[in-house]
Symmetry: D2
Subunit: 311 residues, 4 copies
């Protein structure tokens, strides 16, 4: 039996203390599409996604994150991962029945040694949009004619914070074979951030050192848009709706241009992300940044907030 | 009394044989805002316009154009123009009462010697959008959060066709003091097109020679959008809705980038126009193009249709 | 004789303590075109400008501004302005011979009552670029094939600071017939900024209250670029060259999107400006902002510096 | 030993009858970077590429294509492919020493059963640009400050023509495990085009049926740019230089926006390509187009030429 393999970041299951308020942010303001409601959970996807959901919202006592979902390359990878995680890593693995999470096949859930709640799954339905929303282009999900103009296109990455970020990233590499695309070291040699990928094609998780040493959590989920113009359009839409933003600009790491916006109810943050680069090179060597290489981690602009939601 | 003066192209009063079908094009597909209905006429404006309307639609036996409206610089210019047109040009001038055309003050109407139906007016109301559509930016009319994403911004120019286009353009210059911004001559020295402006800041009317020698008519009304990306977005929206387009590209004359789309019911054509240039230079000399200066009148791309609507 | 009239902002004559260092910023980094050197002054224009220059650089003991140049609508306006300024305003007016400033006809210079150094002129040569740089498009000056990719297109406005900004703006309106396009009042009713225009089509001078009560000066000259993408490209180019930037974002007033950059030698600041709106409406009423209308004067992003160069 | 695997399209080795004329197109007009000259071959890469080359030019008796290069996932894949191709497919495989093609490790070359000249390689040097051209961003190759503004970013795909395109595509799938991302069938059920990928993430080869039944050949190499605006900028640059273009628009298949341009000397065509979509989904099912699904294979605009270069 060959090694199990992850194919990509798939979705994030979010919790909020006020489902309607959070839906007003995710659907009305940001432009996610509602695909299904089941057992009090609302499943959403971005307009360029075929899969059933890339984010879900469930009402809970406080805002949190139930799990970050990763899709495996093959169906049999689930079994292999479950065994490996239990045997070699000594972790508790829970099996989730097909369709317990709507649209999804069987899955396993576990907490990483650093406390990040992960889910692995392979099967995911690809429901058609309602007929009047379906694009005439067969390779496109939703027509944009009646869609929120600034709607993000597809999930790109998550940023997670950890008081032991280097250890967390190391475990992702060693146990789960995540590839490092870039990393950033402080002047004293300590690692501030490691930018890793399940498939090696693009950064899918930024693992950031939490200097405040809080419990681990999620800083944001990033979705791709098409251009820098889209970031200004998104800022405009957020301002018109009175939804908070946390800065516009461009990261040096990843070269992604950004606009951050935030659900005031839950604190969950969405990054609109444009540009960046892809890796198809099988011999890619991680990009090594040292503090002082550049004046600032942002190539232009500022991120105005470091709050994040604990799991 | 000083010479009367025109300030700008203001609006076009269109006729259609099927009002609902044409509204489906102008409002649902293109993204004009309905401001008012009065006496069977629907008054529309673009999302970046403060004035009451820049296009109106009236049901009639056949598609046509009731008038092309030009705003005068001063209120007293109406009286002066009326006298000049009757006395010096021997034209019939009709006075229109305030609010006969909704939102508009008193106006005069006349047919140019070449048969183009013109209206001059000065006063135009600037109604606020409905509260939920009003932008928070005081210098912007509509918030774009609930607006058709590809909605054009503001009226730019009209293109009119005439079997004696050079004579028509000459009269606009001599009688009405239009300024010539560019012109294009064929190899045999005959003039194909003259691109004129009431205010001298931008092309407001393209006067094109009709080689088929048909009665005069309107080829299109052009509205500004923000970028070349917007043209592709507009093409996408038209295709998704099954609305015909007539080409994407860039004109050499005016340097405007274009996407043409057309109301299948009436044949009225809207150009989405991006880029181009402005003239603030008081000493501007007309740009003189000769056939052969460039391979094609388009810098890139093609216009696929020369149909136009007779007045 | 009719009232003299201004047609537009034309150019700014800058001084720098190190001409070569400042040229490295203006020409190599920002992408201005050098048109001519005469008597130690280097005359520059933007790539979409036909006129001889829109900015000039002269070496002097310290960085400063010799004058802000405004073009009159007619040649005879110079004489009329000179007489009016001397007789009615009691100002000293100096005549400048044709070609004393390269490429320019006769001009008058004076200091406004608040100490802003103004020049009025009418004639300006329109030299062709070198043949290998001339665009094939007759309505375009420079081909962009060998031009700095981020080169700004054409002069848009100046921002001037004054310890009595309201008085300064009032004089511009009353003596010189500047039109107010927008203004911004503080909670206590005092005016923070007045945004005025010579031609009434676009903001050409922002007159800002200097809370530090320093002598009057120039905060920046703004040049138009084509899109928000261009702002990110300009930021990228500045960072690659180690040239300082002062923020990216969008103003609420004027709706202009901005990137600020600065000549480290002289402190002269250039704004790359995209978007905004134009006024062709003869009945435009000034947009009145009150502190508190919006959280911030910026719609998104920040300006990071308030330094400016004294005249 | 596991199955050998291809990682991606890597480069195309082109031949031209006039090297200098073709370099004027590839380097001066399009903006490729010259990396090295060796044995009469000039090695070029795009500004966002780290690898030694993605296209090379060699002078030959006539324009042609020496090979299309694909990079293997692992070094040992070369040996495995060589054995498989000889034993199972009965093809002649030629080994190429390291550095015979500059910057490249050992490689194998063979002609597919349909006559397409392929090369497989694994090692490729990643030379730094000259210091003054190196970006300050460690994850970027060239600073764009002195680069041709319209320079394409990175290789995307090739389009190859074949009188038996369906058979050619089938062999790529069966022998080399290419994945089908989209395909297009005519009304009579015959296949017009198959759009395949070595890595499954994006279309890397379009295999098009040649109705003229000519020997197989290369229609174009496509390179990514960042936005639709870039396509208009590229069209502008080509026109200013007198370099031919073959249309601007958007494909329905792949959703890629395009501008085609062509080396008049050799006939080799470069597509500037913006937009499109990526596949990270392990369960992707090919998109099946039928003639009649859409009016035209282009969503907007036209491709004006079907000429292509025989190998």
């Amino acid at each position: 039996m060959s090694e199990p393999e992850l194919a990509r970041i798939g979705h994030v299951a979010l919790e909020t203390a006020d489902l309607d308020a959070s839906l007003a942010f995710f659907v009305d303001a940001v432009g996610f599409e509602e695909v299904e409601r089941q057992d009090g959970t609302v499943y959403l996807r971005a307009v360029d996604e075929f899969d059933h959901h890339s984010v879900s919202l469930t009402e809970a006592e406080r805002a949190g994150v139930d799990h970050i979902g990763w899709q495996t390359r093959n169906p049999e990878d689930l079994e292999a991962y479950a065994e490996m995680l239990e045997t070699e890593e000594g972790l508790d693995v829970t099996w989730v029945d097909a369709d317990e999470e709507a649209g999804q096949g069987e899955a396993i859930r576990f907490s990483t040694p650093h406390g990040h709640p992960f889910e692995f799954y392979h099967e995911m339905e690809k429901p058609d949009p309602p007929a009047e929303r379906r694009s005439k282009l067969k390779n496109k999900t939703y027509s944009r004619t009646t869609t929120n103009a600034i709607a993000p296109r597809r999930i790109d990455h998550v940023q997670i914070w950890d008081a032991d970020a280097p250890g967390c990233a190391e475990w992702l590499q060693e146990a789960l074979d995540f590839k490092v695309q870039e990393y950033y070291d402080r002047e004293d040699g300590s690692r501030w951030g490691t930018f890793v990928s399940a498939n090696g094609n693009k950064i899918e998780a930024a693992v950031i050192d939490d200097e405040a040493e809080q419990p681990p959590g999620l800083h944001h989920i990033a979705y791709k848009v098409d251009s820098a113009d889209d970031l200004f359009d998104a800022a405009d839409a957020m301002n018109e709706r009175g939804v908070p933003t946390d800065g516009i600009g461009q990261h040096s790491i990843s070269r992604g241009k950004f606009l951050y916006t935030r659900d005031e109810e839950s604190g969950h943050r969405i990054e609109f992300n444009a540009g960046g680069y892809l890796v198809f090179d099988p011999n890619w060597e991680p990009i090594a940044w040292q503090e002082g290489d550049l004046e600032d981690r942002q190539w232009i602009g500022q991120i105005e907030s470091t709050d994040r939601v604990q799991y």
